[in-house]
């Protein structure tokens, strides 16, 4: 870390790091390139624990995050150990009916879908009613037989989980870690009907079938979602003050995944017609959302070509950053580091590649360093490689 940053208080460091992100996404040359840590469960292995040891013990999870932040001078960390709700589901005795599972090496997701296509409108009519009265009793065979004592234990585990989240917020403050993005103006994450259909309601297989056989039902659902979920968010954005919220590195955080299974017509009619007005609202207000473009986005690059510089940042997964820069010279790129590189190369090779990324993509702003995949598995990264990259990027000053 540079001397000037070492001398800062955690609060000053947080503000400084936030400014680095805002400069990069606004295409101003930052003092140095900020590093957005896309690191999830890998840090558990790096701290000497197995996944099951950390997932069942908040003290261990806290220790892994603290060890990570001591070792690697990173500017934002996508997960500070709080993506861990197993305490609640285990208190409920969910067992093999849970969607998520873990063992010593991995946290995984079982394939799941909790809404048939002909009930999508019932779901959007009242999500919580549907979840309580339909989805949960179907997911958990003995749902109606749980005792009040079991429910009290669930509540206790839930409360412990919330307290852990608050505790980890303090840890982030202690290390001057910048905050990625606020919750959406309606609270919770910003999501679209088609994404919810893919990730939870129908699943990839059923959504793919529904796109061909039940297109109008899907369209009706996406329209209803837009009215109920997305349009109120747009109204709030437009009512907000102009300019970026400097408490955060970005003004929103979105995830795009379902574009990977949609053809261009489906993308336009089930996704883009709802996404574009939201992005235009951010653009109009001088704000910049980060979009994690899982899989690829290059096939739809033309849709984003007209946005003003400073109004969009794409966190790339499988796209080549140089190709995206050529196709979208108006969009800030987040990414560049691959798990292939971090897991197999030498520290010298990693640093040389990082320097090339910064010199070619970031010398005039518009680039933020990050990992392409969420680092999750033991072999996703070598510790010495991440350390070398973090030290390099935290000290490599840019010429203005």
């Amino acid at each position: 870390m540079r001397e000037v940053e070492k001398s800062m208080s955690p609060k000053q460091l947080k503000a400084y790091r936030t400014q680095l992100f805002r400069d990069a996404e606004q295409w101003k040359t930052p003092d140095r390139i900020p590093h957005y840590g896309n690191i999830v469960t890998w840090k558990i292995f790096d701290a000497g624990y197995s996944i099951d040891q950390a997932m069942t013990n908040f003290d261990v999870m806290k220790e892994t995050v603290e060890k990570f932040l001591e070792k690697y001078p990173i500017d934002v960390l996508i997960d500070v150990g709080i993506r861990n709700q197993f305490g609640v589901t285990e208190a409920f005795g969910m067992g093999e009916n849970g969607y998520y599972y873990y063992d010593s090496e991995v946290v995984g997701i079982n394939d799941h879908a909790y809404c048939p296509v002909d009930r999508l409108m019932e779901y959007i009519d009242d999500k919580y009613k549907y979840a309580w009265e339909v989805a949960l009793p179907e997911k958990i065979p003995d749902f109606y037989e749980k005792s009040i004592d079991t429910w009290k234990n669930v509540w206790k585990a839930y409360w412990d989980y919330i307290m852990f989240i608050l505790k980890m917020n303090k840890v982030c403050g202690k290390y001057g870690l910048a905050s990625g993005a606020p919750n959406n103006p309606m609270k919770g994450t910003i999501n679209f009907g088609i994404e919810e259909a893919e990730s939870n309601l129908l699943g990839i297989k059923n959504l793919s079938i529904a796109c061909r056989r039940n297109f109008q039902q899907l369209k009706d659902f996406c329209d209803a979602w837009d009215e109920k979920e997305t349009k109120p968010i747009i109204e709030k954005i437009l009512a907000d003050k102009d300019g970026p919220d400097m408490k955060y590195c970005f003004d929103a955080s979105l995830i795009m995944l379902s574009q990977n299974i949609l053809n261009p017509k489906q993308f336009d009619e089930l996704y883009w017609c709802y996404l574009e007005p939201l992005l235009k609202a951010y653009e109009q207000k001088g704000k910049c959302p980060r979009i994690f473009t899982e899989g690829k986005i290059s096939m739809y690059a033309d849709h984003f070509a007209d946005f003003k510089k400073g109004s969009l940042a794409f966190h790339l997964e499988n796209d080549d950053p140089w190709e995206i820069r050529e196709a979208l010279p108006n969009v800030c790129i987040i990414g560049g580091l691959t798990t292939q590189l971090l897991g197999t190369a030498t520290p010298e090779e990693c640093v040389a590649y990082t320097k090339k990324l910064i010199d070619e993509l970031g010398s005039e702003g518009g680039f933020i360093l990050s990992e392409d995949k969420m680092l999750s598995y033991r072999n996703d990264c070598k510790s010495e490689n991440l350390k070398a990259v973090c030290e390099f990027v935290s000290e490599y000053e840019l010429k203005r």
Partner: protein, 64 residues
């Protein structure tokens, strides 16, 4: 060619829709039943947060 005549028999009749799962669990409805359950399990001081925390708990259970 003679038009095929479809004769509805017990075999060709559409199957009756499966009835919704019935339960006499007193907390099965939303929001009334669920609120009653929350009143049983939440400490008194947490009740002002019942709506927000209660809905989030459903999400944790259904997504988790």
């Amino acid at each position: 060619m003679a038009e095929e005549i479809k004769v509805e028999t017990a075999e060709t009749e559409p199957a009756a829709e499966e009835p919704e799962k019935q339960t006499d669990w007193p907390y099965a409805s939303y929001p009334d039943g669920y609120n009653k359950l929350l009143n049983k399990i939440m400490p008194f001081w947490a009740r002002p947060m019942k709506k927000k925390m209660g809905d989030l708990l459903i999400r944790v259970l259904v997504d988790g």
